[in-house]
Symmetry: C2
Subunit: 182 residues, 2 copies
């Protein structure tokens, strides 16, 4: 049933994101979700298949969250402010849709799976491209240079927040990007 499938994906997402994919075994997902092993393997043919479904779920969550945050921004400056304000809110665990902050799930997963041509790495790459496209569509005036700047700073803010614990990085990005826009 779709109910068990969803439960498995939700549990996996929570555990994978919090602990890293390679640190979580199938048995732990089964124990916490309360689902039987046979049920898992009737819905997913392998752990990798479950991982891909989990990445897909996270991607959907993140896109939905981002759309809400950028909705109604009526200038490029407002897009910048809304985006990085939302990121800061995420960093400080104030975004229930994204869970407790432990960096970007896609950056982290890319780090864990070194094979660049694996389905997992390719999915992470596509995710970043789609996020870029969403930001682009919310900008009121086309500006590829600014779009590049926003995307690079977004990655920098997330990484800085995670590795060094600097949660103010997002607001620094706003300062840099808005000052630059004048």
């Amino acid at each position: 049933m779709n109910k068990k499938r969803k439960l498995l994906i939700d549990t996996s997402l929570s555990l994978f994101y919090s602990n890293g994919i390679n640190s979580i075994g199938i048995n732990e997902i089964l124990k916490i979700s309360g689902v039987a092993k046979q049920t898992l393997y009737s819905h997913f043919e392998s752990k990798e298949s479950l991982i891909l479904a989990t990445l897909e779920q996270r991607h959907m969550n993140f896109i939905e969250w981002l759309e809400i945050k950028l909705q109604g921004a009526d200038s490029n400056e407002k897009v910048i402010i809304r985006l990085f304000t939302a990121l800061e809110s995420w960093f400080t665990n104030s975004e229930p849709m994204l869970g407790d902050f432990r960096g970007c799930f896609f950056i982290n997963s890319s780090a864990e799976f070194s094979n660049k041509s694996s389905d997992i790495s390719l999915f992470c790459k596509r995710h970043k491209h789609k996020v870029r496209e969403i930001i682009r569509l919310h900008m009121t005036k086309e500006n590829p240079f600014l779009l590049d700047a926003i995307c690079i700073m977004k990655e920098g803010a997330i990484t800085s927040a995670y590795v060094t614990g600097d949660y103010s990085s997002a607001m620094k990005c706003v300062q840099i990007l808005t000052r630059y826009e004048c």
Copy 2:
């Protein structure tokens, strides 16, 4: 002897960086280095101890490389140009001191080890602080705001280069930062 110890660290660094720490077992390091297991455990009390020595080695390599690259920059703009030109060179596998590019070893390791208070995570955090300090000392005119911008964009460029394969991200950073400095 120090010779075996160094061989173990060099082999570990190469394998850990290329494949991810959790994807490489002790036995593989022993097979490739040709060192016996007992020798490894006479130099290091555990795998974690070897990981920390490997992080330390990478840190030294990176700091030495960075110092060379920033040496003699006589303006903040030159610091920016040199830093990001060096990063681009790294991204395109033209920096033998750093090996074939697979993102930042410290970002990747932070992603693999979720416990923020583990020695591994703390080491990665300290590494980033030290890199920041080196950049600061090379700047000819104090500018904390610009320093923040440089560090955030550096993380963004590395992450973008690794996850999305955009090796031009470094040059985009130069454009953004130098245009901003006027």
